[in-house]
């Protein structure tokens, strides 16, 4: 028998075992005061000063504040008045989502240099499974430091990183030495770490669940782990079991890389407006903006959609959605817009609109047909040219005139935000 076959016979079981016990290394990256940092980086005048990023609307609240502002007690969710009271020198900066998204994409690209398994968790957070990259880059600490260094050098931003055997603990770890931290938690450290930690500190236990757990006499994660799982199950149902594992620091959930999942089933964007909109003209402009986002993403993935869906949420949080299937699949901004707009015509919009969502589904991955008529061909070529400009100069480089004059993009990006793929973006 050739020698390496013999050897492989011995190696395989070990590899197998490793897989079963699932000794993983998961890295969690969390940008420090992301929006505020981006603003400070792009505008040197703001550096070192207490700033707060707010939405553009009148009824806005503070979305993020710089660490300088946090020192004075400025907190996310405060109104502008409350912010000024806490810190009289506070500078308010209206949020610019497009800038953040652009930066976020760049950060994700940095992460992809270290492992293909990157899960975007929100605009400023990502998980990376570095189990397979450890040897390549010289271990956990080296990877953590290299990522921090590259983000600092390329984007002039700081971040906090946690590296742990699973996502749950990694996320916890990244939060432990903010800002600009790097915390590595090994298996053996987990029990000690969780023992005294208040239950609300962990991702997944909010105020409501926390309150319920406290009525059971559970104050810390250590106590949660020791608490009988059966009672948790009775009390919380299916989540009970997960809570039990959370207390033990166990989390089997894999890092799901973007783009590696099944081919996207739909591509969509939605957005909550800074103020409710009832003017059809304004609604149309948002519709174009959203259609443009959907179209760009579809073209990037080389796909077209046979079905266009529109979702409208009104000021009273009621919503209505409708879809329309077209014979020839679409991915040009204007084509998506015109179908979405036709759908809107058939909907009864008698209340101010709070949110609009546009998506295409029934995707096909080839088949871009040149249009026969000249005016349509112009559209086609124009879109192509715009895409080329965006490819070179970034997503912000060129857009429609009706959209540029838009002073008030919503100030917050939802945790569901993903740079690409089928997840619908749903800013709150």
């Amino acid at each position: 028998m050739p020698r390496d076959l013999v050897r492989s016979a011995f190696i395989t079981p070990k590899l197998k075992k490793q897989k079963i016990t699932g000794s993983r290394s998961v890295l969690h990256l969390d940008m420090d005061a992301f929006f505020a940092q981006v603003e400070q980086t792009t505008n040197p005048a703001l550096r070192g000063k207490p700033i707060a990023v707010v939405g553009n609307k009148k009824r806005t609240v503070i979305v993020t504040s710089s660490y300088e502002a946090r020192k004075h007690g400025v907190k996310t969710g405060m109104t502008m008045g409350e912010g000024t009271r806490a810190c009289p020198d506070l500078i308010f900066v209206p949020g610019n989502n497009r800038k953040y998204i652009d930066t976020s994409v760049k950060i994700i690209n940095v992460l992809k240099n270290f492992s293909p398994v990157v899960e975007v968790f929100s605009i400023d957070e990502a998980f990376v499974d570095i189990t397979g990259s450890l040897r390549l880059f010289g271990g956990k600490e080296a990877i953590g430091n290299s990522i921090k260094k590259r983000i600092k050098e390329e984007l002039n931003l700081t971040c906090s990183i946690g590296i742990a055997p699973n996502k749950l603990i990694a996320k916890l770890a990244s939060d432990m030495e903010k800002p600009d931290g790097l915390v590595i938690v090994n298996d053996k450290d987990i029990p000690g770490l969780l023992e005294e930690l208040p239950i609300e500190e962990i991702c997944g236990i909010g105020k409501k669940t926390g309150k319920k757990l406290r009525t059971l006499g559970i104050e810390t994660l250590g106590e949660l782990g020791r608490y009988p799982a059966s009672i948790l199950k009775k009390k919380f149902g299916i989540i009970g079991e997960r809570l039990h594992y959370m207390g033990l620091g166990i989390d089997e959930s894999p890092v799901v890389p973007m783009g590696d999942e099944n081919p996207a089933k739909s591509i969509g964007h939605s957005m909550t407006f800074p103020t409710d909109v009832d003017d059809r003209e304004d609604i149309n402009r948002y519709l174009l903006l959203l259609s443009g986002k959907v179209g760009r993403r579809a073209r990037r993935h080389g796909c077209l959609g046979h079905t266009v869906s529109l979702y409208v949420r009104f000021s009273d949080f009621t919503g209505i959605g409708k879809r329309h299937t077209v014979e020839n699949p679409v991915n040009l901004d204007n084509d998506i817009y015109s179908v979405a707009s036709k759908i809107l015509d058939t909907l009864e919009v008698d209340k101010p609109v709070r949110l609009l969502g546009v998506s295409i589904a029934n995707l096909i991955y080839n088949g871009k047909q040149f249009p026969l008529f000249k005016n349509e061909r112009r559209d086609f070529l124009l879109t192509d040219a715009m895409d080329n400009v965006k490819d070179i100069f970034g997503e912000d480089a060129v857009t429609y005139a009706t959209v540029t004059e838009w002073p008030s993009e919503a100030g917050v990006i939802s945790p569901a935000w993903r740079p690409n793929g089928p997840r619908r973006v749903d800013p709150k």
């Binding site: 020839n328 871009k368 040149f370 008529f373």
Partner: protein, 373 residues
């Protein structure tokens, strides 16, 4: 209202109405057919307000009158009755229709004929006439190019206009869905009532109904344009359809003027090649690539999930090498209706419209836009 009729005669009349009646059921009476008795004839009418049909059939009229009943139900009932049976129908109270056939008795719910919309009737003489075979061929060559998109209302039918060449008058039919175009001309007998360059758009559904009755016999088709409707008379059947209210795009602008490359294929073999190669494609829209080099065309298709397919065709070609993609279904739609043995594919480059014509110039041709590779 009471009559007796032969099963075959009634079935023939009802089957003509089946694809016309409203299927969505938004207005109940539109899913009904109208049965009306006058003289020695039974008239059967159906309409969805866009297309209407009226046919008259031999029946033994016992007492005059009329009623409407669900088209689908009545058709299914009559279909199940054995051929040759005499069917006896009678309207009872509250518009119930009693139908007796052999030992079977059916009582069908009906509605008053007074509520049935009036289907305009073909009155006066035909303005122009056309032989059924000629019209059939014109419809077959154009209808597949009609857009299925309800967004593109002005493309949802076949454009008809008249051309004058000296003393000869020609009827031209053009259809396009924005990606391909069919054009066919034919001599007509009579007068198209619109002036030169002014055409009408005949809806697809109406054309399909015309197409159906063309197969029945050789009676000449008479046509009339009146009040935004096209009326057709053939034998005992009248069809009327509301014209599409829209402006047909300037189709002449897309007819290529300078296609410097041309390839000749055997229609049949070319179609077979395309069908074979396109098997390897999972998408709803199947693209085939043509790699054209000196005296050789390589037709290929690929799908990431299934693999690749390739076939070579020898041709006479001496121009630049190039690669061009086409929607294979568009190609096959065309090849299916070409009667001539050889076709000519002409084009300028990989993003300009291509043209398919019979090798010997005929009265028709097609334009097809390539796909982006």
């Amino acid at each position: 209202m009471e009559f007796k009729i032969n099963q075959e005669e009634l079935l023939k009349g009802l089957s003509r109405t089946q694809s016309i009646v409203e299927k969505k059921n938004t207005i109940k009476i539109l899913s009904n057919v109208l049965l009306k008795l006058s003289g020695k004839k039974l008239t059967i009418e159906a309409t969805d307000l866009d297309v209407g049909i009226r046919g008259s059939y031999n029946a033994e009229v016992i007492s005059e009158g009329g009623v409407t009943v669900d088209a689908k139900t009545l058709f299914e009932v009559v279909k199940q009755i054995p051929e040759g049976t005499s069917i006896h129908c009678k309207m009872k109270e509250n518009y119930w229709l009693e139908l007796l056939a052999g030992r079977s008795v059916f009582n069908l719910v009906g509605l008053s004929m007074d509520d049935y919309p009036e289907v305009p009737s073909f009155e006066g003489d035909a303005q122009w006439k056309i032989e059924p075979d000629v019209l059939k061929s014109m419809i077959d060559k154009t209808i597949f190019s009609v857009s299925h998109e309800d967004m593109r209302y002005n493309l949802s039918g076949v454009y008809m206009e008249m051309l004058e060449e000296g003393s000869r008058k020609k009827l031209r039919m053009v259809a396009t869905d924005g990606h391909r175009l069919s054009l066919v001309d034919t001599d007509i007998d009579g007068d198209f009532p619109l002036s030169k360059g002014v055409g009408v758009i005949v809806p697809r559904k109406g054309l399909m109904e015309i197409r159906k009755i063309l197969d029945e016999d050789d009676d000449t088709v008479g046509m009339r344009l009146e009040d935004n409707s096209l009326m057709i008379k053939k034998g005992n059947v009248n069809l009327v359809m509301r014209l599409v209210d829209g402006t047909f795009p300037d189709y002449k602008q897309v007819i290529p003027k300078s296609s410097d490359k041309s390839l000749v294929f055997s229609t049949e073999e070319f179609a077979r090649t395309l069908r074979r190669v396109s098997v390897v494609s999972t998408d709803r829209i199947k693209m085939v690539k043509f790699h054209i080099s000196t005296n050789l065309v390589e037709v290929s298709s690929e799908s990431p999930d299934m693999g690749t397919a390739k076939e070579e065709i020898s041709v006479q070609y001496s121009g630049d090498e190039l690669e061009i993609g086409f929607n294979v279904n568009y190609m096959l739609d065309i090849l299916n209706v070409v009667e001539e043995e050889k076709i000519k594919l002409m084009f300028l480059d990989e993003s300009s419209p291509g043209e398919i014509r019979p090798l010997e110039d005929k009265n028709y041709f097609f334009i097809i836009m390539p796909m982006k590779i």
